[in-house]
Symmetry: C2
């Protein structure tokens, strides 16, 4: 891969480009502080009944926008035969959006064009976001003003797609939500923009060590980057890729859940109140927020957000088996996933879930009483839909006393095997993908 120039114009462009390259932590934080100062963003909690243009549909009880766009809060029933064994509200946004990172090789190092982006649910306003986060409504209406910068690179063959895959998002809160995860490689200058910087990939990965900085959308896209063949273990994995596929197929075939999207009014334990949608034993609620954002222009809107009532926890167990590093994946069923089962981290717990439900060695790992911690950081989940949703992500390395033989819910994969599956959608869930991105940071 070489950077091709193009005469005087490019030389000039290159000079300006340099100003928009962040090459150290100091550079990054300088730009980041500058972005915080550049605008004023205020998010205020308001009653659901005060949301502008949002209403509870008379017939279904669903919370929806008057335009029919954006998303709806509907009901989900998990059926066992004809019996409802679990019911909850769920966010339904059937559109497929684009999460895209533009990459470019500069001085032999891959750089990512990252964005300082505000989301209403972020506890810290700004997080480091992909080049593009666009809903389908965004990208099919680009000519009506408010065009999404750099979107054309992901929709019009302006570069070479090295990642392009539909990946799921939170199966506990979304109804079959997927986004198109893309990485597009360019070899020329792009238009400058104050909210964007070219950041070397190693630095982006390093920033994953900060709490609540690299947003969920960035993490999922980064996880899908193909690994450099030189980083790949030449080693013999415990299980062949066919054995892993067979284990996964078996887990799907054993899952007898039948989820259905239903009108929210049929989720009877949840109250659709003025202030929020909630239930006595619910581990989240749906709240309303009003946002006033003043950068180059003042924008005001209001929308519902899902507020988890506590942090989640995800732990990926790592162990060397015959000298080869393996991660322990779990076949995890979640009612909102398109095909119900995807591979999750070894331990994946929603707010309120207790480690006591786990098998003994995993309980000890989850409690921090066993294994050595390689990574332990709190990250935020999607701030466009969730309010202050945080997950404590951990990578824990265990020793030879941790059993290689595990129950049918679990399977050991090498990092290379996990990465290979990420070329395809619906294998690794969004929590597992965050941890795969964090694991890259350590390699």
């Amino acid at each position: 891969m070489t950077i091709t120039g193009g005469g005087i114009g490019t030389g000039w462009g290159r000079a300006r480009e340099t100003e928009r390259i962040v090459s150290s932590h100091a550079d990054f934080w300088y730009w980041w502080a500058d972005r915080q100062r550049a605008g004023h963003h205020h998010v205020e909690r308001i009653p659901l009944t005060d949301l502008d243009q949002w209403h509870f549909d008379q017939r279904s009880g669903n919370l929806a926008h008057g335009s029919g766009r954006f998303f709806t809060v509907e009901g989900l029933h998990l059926l066992d035969g004809t019996q409802v064994r679990h019911a909850q509200p769920v966010i339904n946004q059937p559109e497929i959006g684009i999460l895209g990172i533009l990459v470019r090789e500069l001085d032999g190092v891959l750089h990512c064009l990252m964005q300082a982006k505000m989301e209403p649910g972020n506890l810290n306003t700004f997080q480091l976001s992909p080049t593009v986060q666009a809903t389908r409504s965004n990208y099919t209406r680009v000519h009506q003003g408010n065009a999404v910068p750099f979107l054309e690179y992901f929709t019009a063959d302006r570069g070479r797609a090295v990642v392009d895959v539909l990946q799921s998002e939170q199966g506990a809160w979304f109804w079959r939500k997927r986004n198109r995860n893309m990485v597009v490689l360019v070899d020329h200058d792009v238009a400058p923009h104050e909210d964007y910087r070219w950041i070397p990939l190693p630095l982006v990965l390093d920033l994953l060590g900060q709490d609540n900085l690299v947003n969920m959308d960035s993490r999922t896209v980064l996880s899908c980057l193909p690994i450099d063949p030189v980083d790949e273990e030449p080693a013999t994995p415990l299980r062949s890729s066919q054995e892993i596929l067979s284990w996964f197929t078996d887990a799907k075939a054993r899952c007898a859940w039948h989820p259905r999207l239903v009108p929210l009014r049929e989720v009877s334990a949840w109250e659709r109140g003025t202030e929020h949608i909630g239930a006595e034993d619910g581990d989240f609620r749906i709240i309303g927020v009003r946002i006033e954002s003043s950068g180059r222009e003042v924008v005001t809107w209001s929308q519902p957000l899902l507020e988890p009532l506590g942090p989640g926890s995800s732990v990926l167990v790592i162990r060397k088996i015959d000298g080869v590093r393996h991660v322990l994946m779990q076949a995890k069923a979640q009612p909102g996933l398109l095909d119900l089962v995807e591979m999750g981290p070894t331990v994946q717990q929603l707010p309120g879930e207790r480690p006591s439900d786990l098998e003994p060695p995993l309980r000890a790992v989850a409690a921090g009483q066993y294994g050595s911690s390689l990574y332990d950081t709190v990250q935020s989940e999607e701030g466009g839909r969730f309010h202050h949703a945080m997950t404590r992500y951990r990578l824990v390395e265990v020793g030879d006393d941790f059993p290689v033989s595990v129950s049918a819910e679990y399977c050991w994969l090498t990092f290379g095997q996990a990465s290979a599956l990420l070329r395809h959608g619906h294998y690794l869930n969004v929590e597992a993908r965050t941890l795969i991105a964090c694991l890259r940071h350590l390699l």
Copy 2:
């Protein structure tokens, strides 16, 4: 791969095994004729209202079995925003069944344990079927008599799974139906059974040249068999595997369909009559049949079947590009597919669909006016759910005058690329898989 013996017991078993090996067309037809004579099977059309234990649900209008088992006939709405742009009945059978072929190497040749199996919707009663076709009800109730022969090889790790993947079935007629396609390799004798024979893989593939003989379930499992590396083209494909994945992701992202399962009574253009469920412009109807089957025991039951009102047509275009054989796949959306879009044959038409909707070169291919026919055979679709459902399958080789540049709905893949995708589910639809199996027959 070697066949391991095991002393006297195995030697004796091997002698009996030999009797159950079919090694020529003549052997096959001799056994096949014998199977036809072995029992009496009578299928009779009856009114839906005469079906035993099946009824139209008062509230939903769905056609269902009193036990809540088997399958239901429900409604499907295809929404454009909140507008219903298409509505039809659909078969809903959420369980994942097993379609499994047991294979074994004998004298250096892979043999498949195939079954002569009657299905009520088969126009010729018997078709050549996989070792196991089992619904989840079958295999979770195996101890209540009527055990499915050889099922234990697919549920209890008795051999090595070389194929194990969930694959979709007809997206025009089923609601998100998938089955677990398995091939399990054994190296020892299995119990003899008169309805089963070990048939060399080349002979099974050769039998694909017969009309309506190798059933749909066999064809889909055969298509998933990994290809021998020596058969694989060493050649450079037109498009890299990443380009193919990107093309496919793009097609999915562009599909704005929103299908929903609804009560059948909401499919207003379709009449739920005494004789059948049908519509004036429908290309199928739901009928009732009663089956009396007397082999070793007499079994009688009745059930609904979906009857297409004419044959379908599927054509896969093949072209050498830079000396390498490619097939032209179509990104085909169908309302009943889990993720809506899968890769279908170049031309895929339901009864009633007209070739005149196609682009000119494809219209000529579909009309048989262009290209040379490599394969042209009528095959049956699933006889357990469809009544006399037939599709004319064709492989048509075109010359250098056929354009390499195709619209965004199409993509050229090598046979090796298509086979590699079949390790994963939901890439190639069931019609494409039949044609991939047939293509093997020619290689």
